[in-house]
């Protein structure tokens, strides 16, 4: 479990950059926790405060029962050995082979030669790169490099994995396979993963929780399904707009009608609620947009729909929907 208490970070310079503003955040153990925000929002800074690659200007960072701010350099090195980190640009050593790269953190914790060999081989098996053991990073594709990065980060059996835009330099296909690998690791090793990204699909694909960061300030935090289907702050709503539903062209809109956005989660996504509603009430429904998808493992659906009819009938239908659905939002 990681806890931020009023964490501040200001980078000196002219003008100074207030990169983190009073961050209060709890990251539960064993889950995949995503932090999303635009470029420059302060995501990397926040992540790097966990292992003190960046020292906060104020506030406290706790990892389990340790106050990270107060550790001496050698205590800090000790703690870092229990955390893995992967990077957008992989940061592998060009002078070492795949084997040598994965062996590196094991050398740092003074593992014996024979043990290193055994461990590296099993890690390369885990990430599916056993056949590249003698290759140099320059001979690998981006996805392969990131797999080496993951193997290296897991070498010392950390309980925490920090991912800084780990898939942002990869194409969509490769991104998917790397994300699947992260999910597998999270489940099989019961490892806490904190990842930062500017890409919604990454959060949608594997995260249990999400925190939205804007301009150095935390906007909202919660289970992905809640934050994505019921965004509370304008900045989250803005961010989700393009992701979930397209802008409806004004020609297609009839201003007399009521525009609704319906979000179905889990089992509700399977039920024929709309047809029930039309049968029960004296209204017409015009569906403008529909989508069914899943958040990690939770199915959800989204509908943009216009209702026309008498005001009381419309209100009744909306109530009916609210009784049956997770979320109904009247857009106009």
């Amino acid at each position: 479990m990681i806890r931020f208490k009023g964490v501040e970070k200001t980078f000196g310079g002219t003008p100074p950059v207030h990169a983190l503003k009073g961050i209060d955040l709890e990251i539960p153990a064993g889950k995949i926790f995503g932090i999303i925000g635009q470029s420059g929002a302060g995501k990397s800074t926040l992540l790097r405060c966990i292992n003190m690659l960046e020292r906060p200007s104020g506030g406290e960072v706790w990892v389990d029962d340790l106050l990270m701010n107060d550790l001496t350099p050698s205590q800090l090195r000790q703690e870092r050995k229990k955390m893995g980190m992967i990077f957008q640009h992989f940061n592998l050593l060009n002078s070492r082979t795949v084997f040598g790269n994965v062996a590196f953190p094991l050398e740092i914790i003074k593992t014996g030669k024979y043990k290193i060999r055994e461990r590296v081989l099993s890690l390369l098996d885990l990430v599916g790169l056993a056949d590249k053991i003698h290759a140099y990073p320059s001979q690998l594709s981006g996805g392969q490099k990131q797999r080496v990065g993951i193997a290296r980060a897991l070498a010392t059996k950390p309980r925490l994995l920090l991912c800084d835009e780990a898939t942002s330099a990869l194409d969509p296909e490769t991104t998917k396979s790397v994300l699947q690998l992260l999910q597998k690791i999270n489940q099989t090793l019961n490892l806490t993963i904190v990842l930062i990204t500017h890409e919604m699909p990454v959060i949608q694909e594997i995260c249990d929780y999400v925190a939205v960061l804007e301009d150095g300030a935390l906007q909202e935090v919660g289970p992905v399904i809640d934050v994505f289907t019921r965004p509370r702050t304008p900045s989250t709503q803005r961010m989700l707009q393009g992701f979930f539903a397209p802008r409806i062209p004004s020609q297609l809109r009839n201003s007399k009608n009521t525009l609704l956005r319906l979000t179905f989660v889990d089992q509700k996504a399977h039920e024929p609620i709309i047809s029930k509603m039309i049968r029960h009430y004296d209204i017409d429904a015009n569906i403008l947009f529909g989508r069914i998808d899943q958040m990690k493992t939770t199915p959800f659906g989204l509908l943009l729909m216009e209702l026309s009819g008498s005001q009381p009938q419309i209100e009744k239908s909306i109530n009916f929907l609210k009784e049956n659905l997770v979320e109904v939002e009247v857009l106009s």
Partner: protein, 210 residues
């Protein structure tokens, strides 16, 4: 005679390159790691070292050679001859090597150093397992460049009685009008420089290609 002079030149260049590398490498590492945002940031120490290196590099070799004669005498026991020439050559090469080492190490992606820090590597581990191995091809080229430059300087040292090919060219080729000897020394110098450069390039290329 030519053979003798060539050997002298090789001795001077070989020893001074080796000693300069031994002293310049740690100095270059200190320059690197004490710089801003590096693993052992020390602004004042960095400024101090940087100034010393700059002063060393801005004194023309011919002046340096004369200026440190007392020092040379104490180390080599004499101020003329091949052994004596090694001292100013080394002194001139140390700051040069240090800057080249620094340049080579600054080319390493900071992300790689950061990755090592994130794994709990200590500064000595980062130096020995990251900085030196990652910069190795550039370090080899730096050493090559140093040796080549020292060949030129050693000829200058020859002018004031340091022995070697430069000495020979001046005493026979120039003062006694022996154009043939002048030509031969020049050819040997060219061959030496080419040979060293090719060797250095080859080793570096090998390291780059992995």
């Amino acid at each position: 005679m030519l053979w003798q002079a060539t050997l002298e030149t090789l001795t001077m260049v070989g020893i001074s390159t080796a000693v300069a590398a031994l002293c310049g490498l740690p100095l270059g590492i200190c320059l690197t790691i004490t710089d801003k945002h590096h693993i052992l940031e020390q602004p004042y120490l960095n400024k101090l070292l940087g100034s010393i290196v700059n002063i060393g590099r801005s004194v023309p070799f011919i002046i340096l050679m004369v200026a440190i004669i007392p020092f040379t005498r104490r180390i080599a026991g004499t101020s003329i001859g091949t052994t004596a020439a090694i001292v100013p050559l080394t002194v001139a090469a140390i700051p040069f090597v240090a800057r080249l080492v620094e340049t080579a190490m600054k080319e390493i992606d900071p992300g790689v150093i950061e990755a090592a820090e994130s794994m709990g590597a200590s500064p000595p581990e980062i130096i020995s397992k990251i900085l030196i191995p990652e910069a190795l091809p550039s370090l080899i080229l730096a050493l090559t460049l140093t040796a080549v430059n020292l060949i030129g300087y050693s000829a200058m040292a020859g002018a004031i009685g340091g022995g070697g090919l430069g000495d020979l060219a001046i005493r026979f080729g120039y003062q006694r009008f022996r154009a043939d000897i002048m030509l031969q020394t020049v050819i040997i110098l060219v061959v030496l420089v080419q040979g060293i450069q090719m060797l250095g390039d080859k080793i570096a290329q090998r390291l780059y290609n992995r």
